[in-house]
């Protein structure tokens, strides 16, 4: 972790700590129970990014594990909860990007008749069309990895473009460009499939 993380300013609200305000401090001191509380507090965030990024549950679970194990070793260098959230988002997105790059270099051994990877289990969202949501998540997987990362941080984590730029270490204008193009692309397909309000 480097000092760039500390300079990032995130505007979205922090999640409510499960284990009291001092669980971060206690975890830094090596309290495993407190670490467990931090894990519980942030696991959905990290797992969700990994799941929507890779589209594969097993990959997401493995990446989630690795991120939190890495977090355990890095806690001494993370200054506060704000920093922790940024660190987690940055770490999981970079790990996802690396995973995709590694995958693209590997020979594909999967037969064309093999069914596609198990993607997100069809959890239902209250008041929303679960099939449409699944379709949108599927479309996100067709974006380039960088564009996908931008979209996830924007619409899952509600980060502003400047925050996304800091997490992904890319210029703000590039983030905005990814957002605009990705939304246009999604809208085109979405409307083409007669969804909408």
């Amino acid at each position: 972790m480097d000092s760039k993380d500390i300079d990032m300013a995130l505007t979205s609200p922090l999640p409510v700590p499960l284990g009291g305000a001092d669980s971060f401090v206690r975890a830094r001191r090596g309290d495993l129970t407190a670490f467990g509380e931090l894990l519980r507090e942030h696991e959905a965030r990290v797992y969700s990014v990994a799941l929507r990024f890779t589209g594969r549950r097993l990959d997401a679970e493995e990446l989630t594990q690795d991120v939190f194990v890495q977090m355990h070793g890095a806690l001494g260098r993370i200054t506060d909860r704000d920093h922790l959230r940024r660190w987690l988002l940055r770490t999981v997105t970079h790990r996802c990007l690396n995973r995709l790059r590694d995958d693209s270099r590997r020979p594909k051994l999967v037969s064309i008749d093999t069914l596609p990877p198990d993607a997100e289990p069809p959890a239902s969202e209250a008041g929303h069309d679960p099939l449409a949501s699944a379709r949108l998540r599927s479309l996100l997987l067709d974006l380039t990895p960088e564009a996908r990362a931008v979209m996830l941080l924007r619409f899952q984590e509600d980060l502003d473009p400047s925050d996304i730029a800091a997490v992904l270490e890319m210029p703000v204008n590039t983030v905005k460009s990814h957002l605009r193009r990705s939304l246009d692309w999604l809208r085109e397909r979405w409307n083409g499939e007669s969804h909408g309000s």
Binding site: F35, S48, R56, V69, D103, L109, L115, H128, A132, R135
Partner: protein, 492 residues
């Protein structure tokens, strides 16, 4: 709802399975004695220790007499795991991807370990095209003898292991409809074990006028999906029987998907496929959880209201039943129904019941069903993962029980079976000789490649593997299990 709102809804947080948390805690607990982030010098010292230990292990391995090398033709990729590797990343890493020589029995040990003999049979290879086409023509001769057909016809055939037709389905599709199978829809229909069936299925697009098996000429374009069932497949306990029974007798429990709440049924079936008893809980949509979340510790409590104990429960599963179809959608893509049909026959988890023409979203109804069949003699007690049909031991042809595997694992890889279902060290792996004695054991950590017989041979020079299986193991009551265990048998 505009696109951005829908995106936010689609990207609502998903919580990982509890075993992920358990695995993280397990991985970090060893390091917890040191303050996190302040352990660099110890890491260096630890690295030296590990290097020394690894060198010692390597020396021990090199000093072992090499296993008998018998020239066998390497297994082709398709012949890989009869039970498919859960899709996705698979590979590399690992602890030693090399596995270690097995523990040697000491003379003082009284009770001999169970022998894990090679499987008698394995999941079948995908049906060949000729077999599938012949079955199609036999079932639907009008496709080659009748009048010209302008639309695309979707045909789904499920074959028994002996090649006879188990069931089939035919549906005309609108001309020019999209015949691709959208991955997202398949994913909705499939879960964990379902991908196993992928290896036993073929999907073909046969063009109008094309000559198929035995010189027959098609009168129209056909999208053919053909699945072959594993030998010993129990067609009397498929999920579609559960769904049909519920739709016939309790369809009033379906609730609109926009209702904000859903009905969760816990259902005990009779041997002959009727609903024996059930109870309903109405729950908020927000509490709907992914399929994988049957926590073993809650296993027994789920069935208490029905007066059932875990030992009375055999094959179990979860299914979501939907009724209706999405509005303004193109006709159901070819393959979707076929897959639903094949999936249902195969004991797969989900089925979308399309009620015909387009309906409003508000008309679409669903229910969530947890079901169990009565336990039969010799069947493992409960255990969602273990009982999904394509992965259960008897279907895979294994002649040993879950308890046998547990005993062997306890001896060779203590800790491989635990309450979390996940072993941080990797996938417990056992290599047996023809007599069923363990000759190698170790862990293979998943990370990127498909783990199959060839993979193990490449990682362990001199190993020639004839049979390969991997499947989850339930120790008892679904409480202690391993997510999966790899079994390999040396060639004779």
């Amino acid at each position: 709802m505009d696109l951005e709102q829908q995106l936010r809804a689609a990207l609502a947080p998903a919580r990982p399975d509890a075993r992920v948390r358990a695995a993280v805690m397990s991985r970090v607990s060893g390091a917890a004695k040191k303050a996190p982030g302040k352990n660099r010098p110890r890491i260096i010292f630890g690295t030296i220790l590990i290097a020394v230990a690894a060198a010692a292990m390597l020396a021990a391995l090199l000093l072992q007499p090499p296993p008998p090398v018998i020239a066998v033709t390497p297994l082709p990729e398709e012949a890989g795991p009869p039970v498919a590797v859960p899709p996705g990343p698979a590979v590399q890493v690992s602890m030693p991807a090399k596995i270690s020589p097995a523990k040697v029995e000491t003379p003082g040990e009284e009770k001999p370990l169970p022998r894990l003999l090679p499987p008698k049979r394995a999941l079948p290879a995908p049906p060949d095209s000729t077999l599938a086409e012949r079955a199609m023509v036999a079932r639907y001769p009008e496709l080659v003898n009748g009048p010209e057909i302008d639309s695309v016809t979707a045909v789904t055939i499920t074959l028994n292991a002996d090649g006879s037709v188990h069931s089939s389905d035919i549906k005309p599709m609108a001309t020019g409809s999209d015949v691709r199978v959208p991955p997202s829809r398949i994913s909705e229909l499939m879960s964990g074990a379902l991908s196993n069936m992928g290896r036993s299925s073929i999907r073909k697009m046969l063009q109008k006028g094309a000559a198929i098996a035995d010189g027959a000429v098609l009168k129209g374009t056909v999208a053919l999906t053909c699945t072959i069932l594993p030998q010993g497949f129990d067609a009397t306990r498929t999920v579609d029987l559960v769904q049909k029974a519920l739709l016939a007798s309790h369809s009033e429990l379906l609730m609109p998907i926009t209702a904000g709440t859903f009905n969760q049924l816990t259902v005990f079936m009779t041997e002959d496929g009727r609903v024996d008893r059930y109870y309903v809980r109405n729950k908020p949509q927000s509490s709907m959880r992914p399929y994988g979340d049957i926590e073993p510790e809650r296993f027994a409590a789920e069935w208490e209201p029905l007066g059932l104990k875990p030992e009375q429960l055999g094959l179990m599963g979860i299914t979501n039943i939907y009724e209706g179809s999405m509005p303004q959608r193109a006709p159901i893509p070819v393959g979707t129904d076929g897959l639903a049909h094949a999936a249902a026959v195969a004991g797969i988890i989900d089925l979308v019941v399309h009620a015909g023409g387009p309906t409003a979203v508000s008309d679409m109804r669903s229910m969530v069903v947890r079901y169990a069949w009565p336990r039969r003699d010799g069947e493992p007690i409960g255990g969602f993962k273990a009982s999904v049909q394509p992965t259960n031991l008897s279907t895979a042809g294994a002649s040993f029980s879950h308890a046998d595997v547990a005993a062997v694992l306890d001896h060779h890889l203590p800790g491989a079976l635990n309450d979390t279902g996940l072993t941080p060290m990797g996938i417990p792996s056992l290599v047996m000789n023809r007599e069923g004695e363990v000759v190698r054991s170790g862990y293979i950590k998943q990370s990127g490649q498909i783990v199959n017989a060839r993979f193990m041979e490449l990682q362990n020079a001199g190993l020639h593997i004839a049979e390969f299986l991997q499947m989850p193991i339930v120790k008892q009551y679904g409480v202690a299990y391993s997510d999966r265990v790899i079994f390999a048998w040396l060639a004779p």
